[in-house]
Symmetry: C2
Subunit: 149 residues, 2 copies
DNA sequence: TTCAATCGAATTGTACACAATTATTTTAGG
DNA sequence: CCTAAAATAATTGTGTACAATTCGATTGAA
């Protein structure tokens, strides 16, 4: 009969979070060659994604969509501004709000960006059922974390 | 009949990678209060995990386990050394290898660390079947990424 | 009305994460 | 034996992440 290891839970192969953490990093690495063509990092890419959808938002709203805070977004948005893809202006109605607006150049980038999801899809060896499963599991966890406090 | 949006693939809610990225970050954030008690960051914690298992490794081997390179590990290992949990010495047989050894203090930390997985488990609203599913999906993806090139 | 509480963004400080480069050591081919 | 190639860490530079703090603007209760 096998001895029970009281520290088995501390082995990397028994962890559920570690493969999640590692997988996330590897996925972002996979994006790199495709995003390099657009001169975007992964975080800049998903930021553009919310702006392609909404056209105008403040920093707080973007942060809520992406689970990021102003400490991450402020320098990132300045970068996107310097590339000419967005503008940053204070709201007239409430000076606390910094309005982020997409520019025509930012809109144009969308044309080239549509290629990325297709290219990434080829790197994923998941059938539609598995992909849906993964998607639902991730959002279930995100919801749990969000509603807990 | 609904119009087909050629840019639908660029919407955040149609992305499979984004919830993975967001979930990974949120999980690491969940660890923080528990790891703060051990004065460890998440990356330091998983590094200790491989050393609790193997006692002695070089930087390359640790990096292979954790999917990290020396640019990340070198400063992190110096930090763990300064905390007294590991030692860093060049191998006598091959001076290129930096041998990382766990100290008695590092071993002792294991006693307090066993509490962490149990505490984290309570934050996860997944039944065993879902957890297994997630685990297998993550390793399937990691394997794909690894064997592709 | 007024001022304390709140809010949104920016800043600061610490810690990854990784590509690219460098330095040192070892190995192997001629 | 000697030198070119390979291997291993460390370093450098850029870009996140996030907690904590600060700052200015706004709001709401006395």
């Amino acid at each position: 009969m096998a001895e029970i290891d009281p520290y088995a839970c501390l082995k990397l192969e028994n962890q559920i979070c570690f493969p999640l953490y590692a997988c996330s990093k590897e996925v972002v690495r996979k994006y790199k060659p495709f995003l390099d063509e657009l001169d975007l990092t992964y975080t800049q890419y998903i930021t553009m994604m919310v702006l392609w959808d909404k056209k105008q938002m403040n920093v707080k709203e973007i942060g809520k969509c992406l689970y990021l805070d102003s400490g991450t977004l402020t320098p990132l948005l300045k970068k996107l501004e310097s590339k000419g893809y967005i503008t940053r202006h204070r709201s007239k109605e409430d000076e606390r709000n910094l309005l982020i607006k997409i520019t025509p150049e930012g809109e144009a980038l969308k044309e080239r960006a549509v290629a990325v999801p297709a290219q990434m899809g080829k790197c994923f060896d998941l059938d539609p059922k598995e992909a849906k499963l993964l998607y639902d599991l991730m959002y279930k966890l995100l919801d749990t974390f969000h509603t807990e406090e």
